[in-house]
Symmetry: C2
Subunit: 203 residues, 2 copies
């Protein structure tokens, strides 16, 4: 054993600062937290925004049910405690992605204000963008791409947000996308315009 060499191993002075990381990668990390009813358009808008951001060379990632519920959170069910833990973990993972300077889009119903506020609270100030994807229950039920509203009305899905469980809309979201009045591209472009305006990515 070389004392000199092994003592190097404990040297911790070389960590990268957030400003250095941002400067090198040319973007700042943000969490765009899309919230809204089932079928309001959260995932679709997030996926389209991801595609458009990537085309700009932006490092971006979408967290949604497809990649979280069957992986990280596969041990969680739908009890109130598990729903809260589901959102807590998503918030923590989104925070890590944002630290890596990745534009992070989360697409979950996340109906409870307290859960969303907890996700905001762990982020550096100004880096959490709460985005209400707004559509009425009637509009969402009219779309019903997965037949979930139909099942909920038939009583086959208990505590379905908007039907038999509450949706607590954000009091002061940074962004509102009314999807009855917007195409997917318009909604995605509005999201991207917000990121540019706030300086997370270059114009």
């Amino acid at each position: 054993m070389s004392t000199t060499k092994s003592s190097n191993i404990t040297f911790h002075g070389a960590n990268v600062t957030q400003a250095e990381r941002e400067g090198i990668l040319g973007q700042k990390g943000a969490v765009v937290w899309l919230t809204g009813l089932s079928a309001s358009g959260k995932s679709t808008i997030a996926r389209r925004a991801e595609q458009l951001l990537l085309a700009r060379g932006v490092t971006v990632y979408v967290l949604d049910g497809d990649n979280v519920r069957f992986g990280l959170n596969k041990d969680l069910g739908f009890s109130p405690a598990d729903r809260t833990e589901n959102i807590r973990r998503i918030g923590e993972v989104a925070k890590l992605f944002a630290e890596a300077c990745t534009i992070t889009l989360t697409a979950f119903i996340s109906p409870y204000r307290a859960d969303r506020d907890a996700a905001r609270a762990i982020m550096p100030a100004g880096t959490f963008v709460e985005c209400l994807v707004e559509a009425s229950v009637e509009v969402c039920e009219g779309r019903d791409p997965k037949g979930l509203y139909k099942k909920a009305r038939a009583g086959q899905i208990p505590e379905f947000t908007g039907i038999s469980a509450p949706y607590e809309a954000p009091a002061a979201p940074e962004l509102v996308l009314r999807t009855a009045d917007l195409t997917v591209d318009q909604a995605a472009e509005a999201l991207i315009a917000h990121l540019i305006e706030k300086g997370f990515i270059a114009a």
Copy 2:
């Protein structure tokens, strides 16, 4: 409600493929899973490799105790079940980062082969790089930067890896870094050379 517009919302044909993402970002996602005794040098090597990779313009992120234990996994203790769940979640999060094409370095003792194999099993073939950060208990105990070995010898830390709990070394790691014989820079450069050789990043 415009039927045309709202029907757009359910359009899901625009998802980005992994190959498209890799092509645009100019790098492929990988998980470099550093495993080894406490004070073997895992975090130090990971942090130095992160700095050197960033200097190359590579998007990279380190998952270690500092950003995981007090956030995502703050609900977990040190029981056998909680240790396994700790590593399971880290593996799932690393997988998400790799899907985003980020070079992901994890720095955890992760003493159990079954836990590491489970992290490997969820990754696409060839994208999990098990990296043994090798140093004997004697070498690590000689470093002991946090005084943990001293406490473990005094019986103040139960089930301490290498002292009172086993370390199951990888049978066939992709990479071995013997830190008694390497400087931090040499170890970090060896890790980066492996990433280049395997085509995850450009030379």
